[in-house]
Assembly symmetry: none
Homo-oligomer: 307 residues x 5
Amino acid sequence: MATARVREILSWYTSENPGVKANLARIMNTGRLAGTGKFVILPVDQGFEHGPARSFAPNPAGYDPRYHVELAIEAGCNAYAAPLGFIEHVASDYAGDIPLILKLNNSDGLSKGHEPCSAITGSVEDALRLGCAAIGYTIYPGSGARNEQYEALRELILEAKAVGLPSVVWSYPRGIGLTKEGETAIDVSGYAAQIAAQLGAHIIKVKPPKMHLEQAEAKKVFEKHAIPIGTLTERVKEVVRSAFNGRRIVIFSGGEAKGTDEVLAEVAEIAAGGAFGSIMGRNAFQRPRAEAIELLHAVMDLHKNAR
Amino acid sequence: MATARVREILSWYTSENPGVKANLARIMNTGRLAGTGKFVILPVDQGFEHGPARSFAPNPAGYDPRYHVELAIEAGCNAYAAPLGFIEHVASDYAGDIPLILKLNNSDGLSKGHEPCSAITGSVEDALRLGCAAIGYTIYPGSGARNEQYEALRELILEAKAVGLPSVVWSYPRGIGLTKEGETAIDVSGYAAQIAAQLGAHIIKVKPPKMHLEQAEAKKVFEKHAIPIGTLTERVKEVVRSAFNGRRIVIFSGGEAKGTDEVLAEVAEIAAGGAFGSIMGRNAFQRPRAEAIELLHAVMDLHKNAR
Amino acid sequence: MATARVREILSWYTSENPGVKANLARIMNTGRLAGTGKFVILPVDQGFEHGPARSFAPNPAGYDPRYHVELAIEAGCNAYAAPLGFIEHVASDYAGDIPLILKLNNSDGLSKGHEPCSAITGSVEDALRLGCAAIGYTIYPGSGARNEQYEALRELILEAKAVGLPSVVWSYPRGIGLTKEGETAIDVSGYAAQIAAQLGAHIIKVKPPKMHLEQAEAKKVFEKHAIPIGTLTERVKEVVRSAFNGRRIVIFSGGEAKGTDEVLAEVAEIAAGGAFGSIMGRNAFQRPRAEAIELLHAVMDLHKNAR
Amino acid sequence: MATARVREILSWYTSENPGVKANLARIMNTGRLAGTGKFVILPVDQGFEHGPARSFAPNPAGYDPRYHVELAIEAGCNAYAAPLGFIEHVASDYAGDIPLILKLNNSDGLSKGHEPCSAITGSVEDALRLGCAAIGYTIYPGSGARNEQYEALRELILEAKAVGLPSVVWSYPRGIGLTKEGETAIDVSGYAAQIAAQLGAHIIKVKPPKMHLEQAEAKKVFEKHAIPIGTLTERVKEVVRSAFNGRRIVIFSGGEAKGTDEVLAEVAEIAAGGAFGSIMGRNAFQRPRAEAIELLHAVMDLHKNAR
Amino acid sequence: MATARVREILSWYTSENPGVKANLARIMNTGRLAGTGKFVILPVDQGFEHGPARSFAPNPAGYDPRYHVELAIEAGCNAYAAPLGFIEHVASDYAGDIPLILKLNNSDGLSKGHEPCSAITGSVEDALRLGCAAIGYTIYPGSGARNEQYEALRELILEAKAVGLPSVVWSYPRGIGLTKEGETAIDVSGYAAQIAAQLGAHIIKVKPPKMHLEQAEAKKVFEKHAIPIGTLTERVKEVVRSAFNGRRIVIFSGGEAKGTDEVLAEVAEIAAGGAFGSIMGRNAFQRPRAEAIELLHAVMDLHKNAR
């Protein structure tokens, strides 16, 4: 039976059919954080997004698609997320071992000069036949092509939930509407979380927000109402609040690979801010396996003990 | 990670997509028998098949749909099977708590004189939106309407597997082609298991076979080859062999309600015959809750220790 | 490159698209008879048609679906034909090892008193996803339900050929229109072959015809024109002539299990009559493996040396 | 029966249905490299891509579509790949003689100034009616139109695999995102292989990579981890590793026509790097027939003896 | 019965169904060139393409749609080709009198400045209901919009052949990729014929090629291999060779209206080059009727006597 916390989180999704809830529950009832309502997810789409050498050369075991799903299982993650090719390669041999999230769009780094926009590289039909527990999708708020992305996402969410699949949305501000600094500005991060929630995302992934305020109108409001954004913990609180006052699951990415202490210090702040968890790719799979598992366990413990 | 036995069983279904395998794995990885490759499933379709009074008056708690799914969860069953109404009533509140099997056809006892034939009372779409792990379907080999049943089943199985759902087939010989005794004759039982397997069933449910031999041609063969059918254990072996030499999951129903000793003696023989498990309805839900759980645990133990 | 004889046979099917021809060629280019234009096919649908005990008890290895496809491969058959369940069980593990023929309809022996009619137990979609080289289908000329069967077959043939799959038709006279003796009468056998050919069958399977003449009008013609039917060889010639004067592939079933000498004597007569080959089930799989292979090789040699 | 190596390669595609596996097996079980898990494929799309004179004037026999398929058959290639017109012209007369790969998109050289993008010139339906064993498709990573190409490919792969057809993807970096040198840079080549694999390609065709490193971020990684790229063999290893650590079939094109010694020296290095084979067009069909067959045999020998 | 030459030509289309072959045969068995394998077709799409005054004022009888079909019948043409309106106007009254080719796309001359691209102005359904023997379609290789045209054509060809209709493709190089001179350059003309053939055209219409060589890479090849292009006859040979070495029907348009001697001199050279015939519009219908018929007869004689 689900824990009280899992029931509470599911109660925020009462408009959804039992299939969507069951898959959300499956993700929450899996791994070392089972039943806590906290999440640590392993995502590995960097092979597509950054290329194989940049992604896997630091720990060459990762060239093999099996490595990642085994790492996620062994570390006790709630789910493993990847593009079609990686999921297809492991879905049969590891059937039922861990909830899979099929990333339905991806962007490679070989073409330049256009507004950020991913290609659709998978379908809800793929997710079903591969036994996935959710679909994943990236939007780029701030991109000149954002509306096409929102529209495609809305259709996919609707299609997915009809067959019982929840949606995980990577909300990454980027593009013509934003400065480089603005991509992780606290006002923009909260806004990105809100947009994903308004589009119907069940789980929202954002980057840890920085102290910068990008939009003049937003800046005025943050200052007028003295919204605290001085620490990462405060900023995470603000982002979580921006996603329906904490009634949507918001998880934070780990970003570029860095030292263990640095990662854990950041996660500690994120966890203290009420985050629902971490989605940690490069900092996990670019480390040697044992070290990665140790790190993931430490991250899980920080989230588990956060409240 | 799945156990070696679960992996072995999944290896018999190599033509299936990962979604079908993942749901089979989910069922095998749930409950007190998780990982053993054995099954105890709670089915409650008697409200539709026999009427509520006959079904629930012996233990009135069972009038409430929640009672059964809670019983299945608490007893540690692998799955809970029921018609649409019962599943719809509990799918949301117990989302993710236990694999659900949606019985897609049902036959009531209010009309007589026709060849046995169930109505289709649910769909693959229902199974997905309700978060089910499999569909269920009853065929009546021996019925004058059997062909229509086989044809409808084939289409449902194809539709279900495309979206990752395995199929559980109740194969109950009955109808114009058979005597009453023939319905559970050993030759007929093995034949019924074979038909379900040939139609593409992933899990096959049959009744415990009796010593009677129904068909003259089959009788000759049983006698010529001296196939042992003197004990229930021997007959179960023959039925399991009839379903692709044990390479399809065959489980046995408990039949009419009876005393605990009688049930356990029968299950002991069934388990010794290489059955993959039991699907036990009336003998479970018509007992008081504590007693039912005790019985189900005893049944599970018999299967777990059988080999 | 195909042999001259294979090219000649394919030239009878010029209205077909290249996909249909390629699959016919695949079947003709496989096994010990590759390139000869002769066929020996192993069909195993008796589990469904007669029940598992009658089919497999004589050689219990045959309860296992893998046994049959391995037998067909090892013996060097042109193809292996079976219902959905048997094909699904082996299609992945033996992918590409031998052309598979998916029997799309089947009839069990558990219901009585109706006109002979099989249930549709598979689809063209199944044949494609399972990598089959052809579909198979049984018609019962003489049955009161024959028209429904012809109509369903026509639709399946059209659907199958659009995706490059040829059709193998079991044409078995049976039913209200015929006496028991008439089922294998020479006039009826030739008629049954003609019907299958007219319905668009690419390969036609009939039973060895007997000397009986069933229909009064036909009897007159056979007698008036002194059509020789005294020997099996003569009768096979008449059946082959009845299928577009030998410009359709007609193969003959072996019928009930019998002694090796008897089988070979019959096949020798069939081969001498210009048959394109044999489709031999029970006489193959009910023998011990080594003996079955020896028999199948002898049958192949008879066909190979026939012309 | 398939060899152990063919079985091993098929085991990397466990999520696929038996139809896809059977066609992959057919390609691997054809020609002089049958059973080795190595591939030499003859592709002739240059008539469309470069025009007939540039393609066929060096060996005018090649103006006739029959020439190429006969060359592929006689040389013992695993498969022959071409656009619709060429395949349609030969599919019937050479039905069953060699696995055919229908190139579903093609780009002519008569229009300039746009981002590289091919037209869709065939369909999965065409591939089926023509009896093909696979579809082929070209993507141009680096092109401003890449996302449309990825999306169209994804739909075609899904459609094709539903009917049992695997997909061969030509991954040719080109377009606004890349310098001319970058099109064959080692970092870009590996990235191109990864993208094709993530999109679900079953067989990936890339060009032999050069020593150039195109992307600054990738350059850092190659240098930091001292990935050896000094020889073609080392670079091929890196590309093969980039396609799921060698668990996807990667074959290398021969590129522009050149002298025999030069071709063989290059193939020797490619084979030593663990390539699964060569796809060799111009260097084959632009030579006189006897010379082409001799060359293809030498290429096959290099691959066969490589490991 | 078809002549040996007609049978030979049909043998190049063996992948097609009998319906497509029958309509090709109908066209080849019609008119004064019946049985010769040569074609003279009257096309009248200039009303749409150039406007009525430019098209019909020189011979005002041509304003009446009946004029053209009667001209084609009386002159003994193989077929008459026109857009929907013209065909609809005459299809009933002249039903069965001459094979009709429905031009499925057309471009008017009222809009400028975009890349050449025709509108789809008819459908396969129209062609069937109007009793046509083929569809017609124009592509503009070299146009920036060429890919859309190729893709639409491919779908129409597939749709048309499914209902037994062959396709006639006007392949007219034009657009951003080409100079004005390049539109009829010999290298480009051969390339245009190849593209149409690869797209599946059954009959290809091109303009008489000129001596210019447009593409630098092609120029090198023409010079290196000393391909003779000095006379129109030589250039026609090269174009015919470019369409599958003469195994696709290639016919040449007459182009702008000109004097009779000039027309016949050009046709004589075209016929000597192995062209399959002429498609002659303005030079026919802009002349007085009797004169037009005389000219068409002369053109037919030149083609008939060419080989």
